[in-house]
Symmetry: C2
Subunit: 453 residues, 2 copies
């Protein structure tokens, strides 16, 4: 049996390692257009920040370790065409600039996602970066260490992590967001609050421009970026620009081969991570996901999910039978002293999905008020009015927001109603929470609101 | 309508406040043999430690605030007999040393628990303390500030909190535990690990004596404790002793009045917090609890539960209809840099309850290994072999153990199987967890163990 894996950051690397354990005699070849394989892309902002100085710390498993297990790693080798009829993939060797065909019995597509480039004049200047791969991180860190001002375009998770990184490195930072508030994946009221809290941390170290587009970059004679212009005509100086305006799945070459895409534009897979074509699996950021809450299709590309999907794909292509039920959309990001976390539906998305969402927000101490390290969190809970089903939560603040969101995921998984959730027994001691946890305060208020309305 | 509440720390104070909101015209009288009402008893160790210096910080609501709401607070007034036939309670005024009868339409018993005194010769010496009430905290802090060595008898939650408090105050500490390991409420393997980790924090600041009893205290001519002797004949010097060998419910006077006790020895209540006698409710540490997992009866006296039960009792005696479904036994305690937390059944208790428990333990980083504040946690998960039902978890270590336990409670509430729980979607970012959370590692291993055995 010959297994070919396309892509090797999280899902592909995990699939290769798991397939190796399950099928000791299989031939396993992993092709990637990247210069590295099996690394923590989620750690790039922390490398840039200098939490560690050797980028190899990001490597989960080296090509040598893979080779020692008989997994053949082909770096700078891009899959450009799949031929399902003949079970072949056309690979372009980016070093030699040549191409060749490789055969497979089972194929795993784990080609991930790539940055979406916004329509900005002069976007191809020097010192304009995206952040996806290890060499992006190396270049950004190198330039940041020589810079005084950095510009971040887009304020999603990665934008927020880079804001922290640059501020910690002592740079002044301008972050530009097209939406009215930062982190627009959250509900507007929560995004607004995040923006207020961020702004109060430091008005001098960074500035946030919202409802603004970058329309043009300016350069010096060396072709290096030195400034930018916004849609409202303002001009700014800067030493470097990082584009964090989102990603899209790398699926075109798969689609060309007849592999079906889902409604989200990512590769359609079943619970076994199988595509519509026999012996071809897809997993990680290139694959569509199912939201556990209601079975709807979503595309939420996250490293934790990629790892799980890679494992499931390997099990099933090896003759096993294990389902991947989907995701809850759980995510967390830190920016300086703030934590922003969510799971399940926001109120906006719940409405768009046809629910009748009812929400409450509470702002409370995250532990007992007399503890020296007490901080605020704001917690928004959303449920469906008709069924009482808990739909999701968002938590932000300097306090322990992440714990509260993780305390919700099990309840979403178990499809609990708000009323059932009010019965939850969370841990209590003064260093960890108030006697009544903010999550239970919020659930109680939400229950009352649902009953009253 | 006249409501009489006996006891006023957490459950009693909460019941009074909630009843006031629901029944604006009721007469509400609260009797307590304590010198204070409505305070955070769980915060005493943090007052002793000096996290704040005014003990009034512990007060949730002052007697004056209660009076302003028309809730009459009778301090130093002990209920000594209930006369259900005539709807009366005999109250002893501890200041005046007199007694009087008071009438009720609805009675709430919230008399809490009291320390169990072990059989130690000379236990009534000066500077021998228990820690339940505000004045205990004041006296212990006062003495600790003048002392060089403190002895703690018993290593449960309170013993652990006091160990931290005394070490932070600069005292040398000896903690004596009868069981083979500290915190014997955890499974033996986990308690052993806690002990090892505690010992590695500081071998010079405190010592842990296990499988040891204190049999006798020694005094000076002023009747102050100056040392103790253990069951194995060893003798130690000390300046003060705190007895933390557990508590028992204050139920004798209720039992005398015909109020039924449950199998645990605490007052038997239904989901409305009603006792077997009409118009008499019980809540807080004096009341028996139901374990949500299997409906069994337990007595786990905790402040968070007391607050909830007080609220439910008030709602139902006011003509409402709200159930208290029970507890999961969720708890957390911090001792110096360590967090110890649990929810649901331990393996030992699951076996005793008739399950066929299967457990796994994993020791993992609590966040990605390259983050500067990464620490270890050890996580033990227990499930029932026959049904696959998740029964409980224990987590300990310098890392974020509390988050993992709170991530389990919703799953226990929803009665998920381990297999269902392996589908959980927890948040991931490097500052918060590894890409695969230790909880999911453990669940996966537990699932494999259940399937294999």
């Amino acid at each position: 049996m010959k297994i070919v894996i396309l892509g090797g950051v999280a899902a592909g690397a995990k699939a290769a390692a798991k397939a190796r354990r399950l099928l000791p005699d299989a031939i396993i070849d992993l092709y990637t257009d990247d210069t590295h394989v099996s690394y923590s892309a989620c750690g790039l902002a922390y490398y840039i920040q200098g939490n560690f100085t050797d980028y190899r710390t990001l490597l989960v498993r080296s090509p040598e370790e893979f080779e020692a297990q008989g997994i053949h790693i082909h770096l700078l080798s891009k899959a450009i065409k799949i031929l399902p009829e003949s079970n072949q993939v056309l690979i372009q060797d980016l070093k030699e600039n040549s191409a060749y065909l490789t055969e497979y019995d089972q194929l795993v597509i784990a080609t991930g996602a790539r940055p979406v480039m916004p329509p900005i004049d002069n976007i191809n200047l020097k010192n304009v970066f995206t952040v996806r791969r290890i060499e992006d991180g190396i270049k950004i860190r190198e330039k940041a260490l020589q810079s005084k001002h950095a510009t971040i375009i887009g304020s999603g998770y990665i934008g927020m992590e880079l804001l922290e990184a640059f501020v910690e490195l002592g740079l002044k930072v301008t972050i530009v967001e097209f939406a009215p508030f930062v982190l627009p994946v959250f509900d507007n009221d929560i995004s607004k609050l995040i923006q207020q809290q961020l702004s109060s941390i430091s008005r001098t170290r960074f500035e946030i421009l919202t409802s603004e587009l970058v329309t043009e970059l300016f350069s010096n004679e060396q072709g290096e970026v030195v400034g930018f212009k916004t849609g409202t005509g303002k001009e700014f100086n800067t030493d470097m620009v990082v584009i964090c305006t989102g990603v899209k799945p790398n699926v075109e070459f798969a689609h060309d081969a007849g592999i079906a895409l889902g409604e989200t534009g990512a590769i359609k897979v079943n619970k076994h991570m199988r595509t519509n074509i026999q012996n071809i699996y897809a997993c990680g950021d290139c694959a569509e996901k199912t939201l556990i809450i209601d079975g709807s299709k979503v595309w939420i590309p996250l490293g934790s999910t990629a790892n799980k999907e890679g494992r499931i794909a390997a099990i099933n292509l090896s003759g096993g039978d294990e389902d991947f039920d989907g995701v809850l959309g759980s995510a967390v990001v830190r920016c300086l002293s703030l934590t922003m976390s969510m799971t399940g539906y926001t109120e906006r998305k719940a409405k768009a999905a046809g629910f009748q969402p009812v929400s409450v927000s509470v702002t409370k101490n995250d532990r007992v008020g007399y503890m020296p390290d007490v901080n605020n969190i704001t917690l928004k809970l959303t449920a469906d009015k008709t069924t009482g089903l808990l739909l999701g939560g968002q938590a932000v603040g300097a306090g322990d927001a992440d714990k509260r969101i993780n305390s919700l995921t099990g309840a979403l998984l178990g499809r609990l109603t708000v009323e059932e959730f009010t019965k939850n027994d969370l841990t209590y001691a003064p260093p960890f929470s108030p006697a009544i946890d903010p999550l239970l305060n919020a659930a109680q208020l939400l229950l009352e609101k649902i009953k009253k309305d």
